[in-house]
């Protein structure tokens, strides 16, 4: 169950402009599920930072993140052996579905899709990057997916184009039980459109600034429609994963 855990950093690498940390904590790893996130204390920042779980193996969890501001800068500066305090695993992740799924990741939205792909009966992946130097984790996706399509904005790796383009192509080729996506809002929206066109259920992982991370403070609002009623649900508890058709995209 979600709780506070001290994790030791066991390995650290950088790739694709991101930092990967492997965190050791058996109790935490034991209850982590695909699409959930960790709320990480970064030095003495007033707020924790939400970072998705990229992978889980035995006693360890992997997170991959980009340095954006003071919090991620602190986290990226931690060395192997350091202890980081984590609240988690949090949130409502990607559903477990029967059958073949399509995972779509864009940029820093790529890492969380790895555990999701691994958990599926069968999976294909579309991974989008700005440019070749930002490409990451494609090997690990190839190890667990059947088809892996890499897209880039500038054509320097994989095919030039958007993730939704790649998704539309695969949706024509195969029959999927679901599409699961994480990335920039515009990517999620276009992937959701492609899935809808193909008549496949789509789940998307949303981002919003967070306070408590556990559903109590109501700051991480995301406008959704549920049972015909429009209103705010909360990324940290109701999400981060929502059914794409429930998300109000133009809010």
């Amino acid at each position: 169950m979600a709780d506070l855990f001290d994790c030791i950093i066991s390995t650290k690498q950088t790739f694709g402009g991101c930092t990967e940390l492997v965190l050791q904590n058996g109790a935490l790893a034991a209850c982590a599920a695909q699409g959930q996130f960790l709320h990480i204390q970064c030095g003495d920042q007033t707020l924790r930072r939400p970072i998705s779980i990229c992978d889980v193996a035995g006693d360890s969890l992997t997170v991959v993140f980009e340095v954006k501001g003071a919090g991620t800068e602190w986290l990226a500066a931690q060395q192997v052996g350091a202890v980081v305090n984590v609240l988690g695993p949090l949130g409502h992740g990607f559903p477990l579905v029967c059958g073949r799924i399509l995972v779509c990741g864009g940029g820093i939205g790529v890492p969380p899709m790895l555990l999701t792909a691994k958990g599926a009966e069968a999976a294909d992946a579309v991974l989008g990057f700005r440019t070749a130097s930002r490409e990451m984790l494609t090997d690990r996706f190839r190890a667990v997916c059947t088809d892996v399509v890499v897209m880039s904005d500038d054509g320097t790796c994989g095919k030039q184009g958007f993730v939704a383009d790649g998704a539309a192509e695969l949706l024509k080729k195969h029959t999927y039980a679901a599409v699961m996506a994480c990335g920039p809002k515009i990517m999620l929206k276009t992937v959701a459109q492609a899935a809808k066109k193909a008549g496949v259920p789509c789940y998307v992982s949303m981002e919003e600034r967070m306070g408590c991370g556990i559903g109590a403070c109501l700051v991480c609002a995301c406008k959704t429609t549920k049972n015909g009623e429009e209103g705010y649900r909360h990324v940290c508890k109701d999400g981060p994963v929502f059914a794409a058709e429930e998300v109000c995209w133009d809010d």
Binding site: A2, T46, L87, A221
Partner: protein
């Protein structure tokens, strides 16, 4: 054995540590972490007559040693609270404070009646929310309107009434005296200080609502000052809050004049914060051979 109990406007709390309105939801989320009966009291999320969606996101921004929020009183409405949240809260083993916000005096009356009937132990009247267009802060910046809201609630309430004061005023003692005269059984302070952050890359305010309320350790010295000023100005007890993150912080607010202390923003770094604050306060009392927490209230020795 240190006696942690404190008497807040006639209601005995088993310890002085309360959780602040809006930072603890209706308690469910924290029950996964500890037994809610460990708390002195739970102050529930602010309620309005009708369900309220609150402001669009982003609703939170970080500041040095603090945060800004602009939730805007998102809540399911008082009827939902009474029907669906109170049954759970009532059996939590601690005292329940309903936090109410009206747009009109009639709304305050309605809210007070309904939460009283639902069995809350205390009512906190929010006349200080900086994040809503009507109501909220508008009530709390003038002695007359603050007194009017207090009187409306008092008339309808069957339990003690706490009035929550805004720090965004020239003279908080004038407001405190006005609500005391209007019958308030206690005051709570401070609500958040109005603030703003701008993202220098996008030139956009960080909050979609442009401004929001500042809370967290950054405001602690303002809370201490205002509690001290109000304690000198009125006789009714004070529920103190603003930036409390440790037992020493709680003791500081109590020395300044608070009978009990609420923990808010600190919950975002650590859901166990109120439990730690309580334990640290107890250790402080033991270390200083103070037999009862209540002995701290107002015990500062000013120069």
């Amino acid at each position: 054995m240190t006696d942690l109990r404190v008497n807040l406007a006639g209601v005995m709390l088993k310890n002085p540590i309360v959780v602040a309105s809006g930072t603890f939801g209706f308690g469910h989320e924290f029950a996964d972490y500890y037994d809610l009966s460990e708390l002195g009291a739970i102050c529930a999320k602010g309620l309005t007559v009708a369900k309220k969606d609150g402001n669009p996101p982003p609703r939170i921004a970080e500041t040095p040693s603090g945060i800004l929020n602009s939730v805007g009183l998102q809540n399911p409405g008082v009827d939902y609270f009474c029907a669906h949240e109170m049954p759970y809260l009532k059996q939590s083993g601690t005292k329940i404070i309903a936090n109410i916000s009206g747009n009109t005096l009639d709304e305050f009356t309605e809210l007070a009646e309904k939460v009283s009937a639902a069995g809350v132990d205390l009512i906190e009247v929010n006349i200080s929310c900086p994040n809503v267009k009507c109501g909220g802060l508008a009530w709390g910046t003038q002695p007359e309107s603050a007194a009017a809201a207090t009187a409306a609630v008092k008339k309808a309430a069957t339990v003690p009434v706490i009035v929550k004061l805004s720090p965004n005023v020239t003279d908080i003692t004038a407001i405190a005296r006005a609500v005391e005269a209007a019958g308030a059984d206690a005051v709570s302070l401070i609500n958040t200080i109005l603030g703003m952050r701008i993202d220098v890359n996008t030139r956009r305010p960080v909050l979609r609502n442009n401004m929001g309320g500042l809370s967290g350790p950054a405001v602690l010295p303002v809370a201490v000052r205002m509690i001290y000023q109000v304690a000198c100005a009125v006789k009714i007890p004070i529920l103190g809050m603003g930036g409390v993150a440790s037992g020493a912080d709680a003791a500081e607010l109590m020395l300044a004049g608070a009978t009990a202390v609420a923990v808010g923003t600190a919950l975002f770094q650590n859901p166990y914060a109120p439990i730690h604050v309580r334990d640290e306060l107890q250790a402080y009392l033991e270390q200083h051979n103070i037999p009862a927490a209540s002995a701290l209230t107002g015990a500062v020795m000013p120069y």
